[in-house]
């Protein structure tokens, strides 16, 4: 139980750091692009612009996912595991992955390595859908168990 709490705390810290990193890259993105443009060959620039555009398009959904993940971890830390709110959180996370998959799929037409991210996002979204369905069943079972005297 103690190690589980440690694991949740570790996940919370990583989630927080991830959120900060996302914002930091969003703020420094144009500056980084300019820096790379001046230091390296300008041939990279069109690809970097596509990367940055895809990043900014994905950013709101990524931040939403980080926020939802943080809330989900806090609820698990409080011992609220099999509750409806967690199902909604996992569902939102799954939809965020699907949106990211759509954006990276479109970006892959301009920069082919994005197709790897599309595949990863679709795979994670599918896993999250399965976990969501498992949680849904677990919540129903728990409700029935709680009302069995």
């Amino acid at each position: 139980m103690k190690s589980t709490k440690h694991s949740i705390w570790l996940s919370l810290i990583f989630t927080g750091v991830l959120g900060i990193c996302l914002l930091a890259v969003a703020v420094c993105g144009p500056w980084l692009l300019a820096l790379i443009g001046t230091r390296f060959s300008l041939g990279y620039m069109p690809f970097l612009r596509i990367v940055l555009t895809a990043y900014y398009l994905c950013l709101p959904f990524a931040l939403l996912a980080v926020f939802v993940l943080f809330a989900l971890l806090l609820r698990i830390l409080r011992g609220e595991v099999f509750v409806k709110a967690n199902i909604i959180s996992i569902s939102i996370l799954s939809w965020c992955c699907i949106v990211a998959a759509v954006i990276t799929f479109a970006a892959a037409f301009f920069y082919i390595p994005f197709s790897l991210m599309t595949a990863a996002a679709v795979f994670i979204a599918l896993i999250l859908r399965v976990i969501k369905n498992v949680f849904d069943t677990a919540v129903s079972l728990k409700a029935e168990n709680d009302l069995t005297i």
Binding site: E144, T148, I149
Partner: protein, 67 residues
Amino acid sequence: MKQIIVNLDVMLAKRKMSSGELAERIGITQANLSILKTGKAKAIRFSTLAAICEVLDCQPGDLLEYQ
């Protein structure tokens, strides 16, 4: 739609016993006994039913009714 009705409060009144005393004697919380009394329960364990029948000196049919 017909359903199972729990007549626990009727039996408690007949035996002149309080809910708190019954909960204590059968070893369940008052909150759970309240769920049973108000008909919110989805199921009842045989062990709980047996304990209630023993304490109230009655049959399961005296507690449960289909109507």
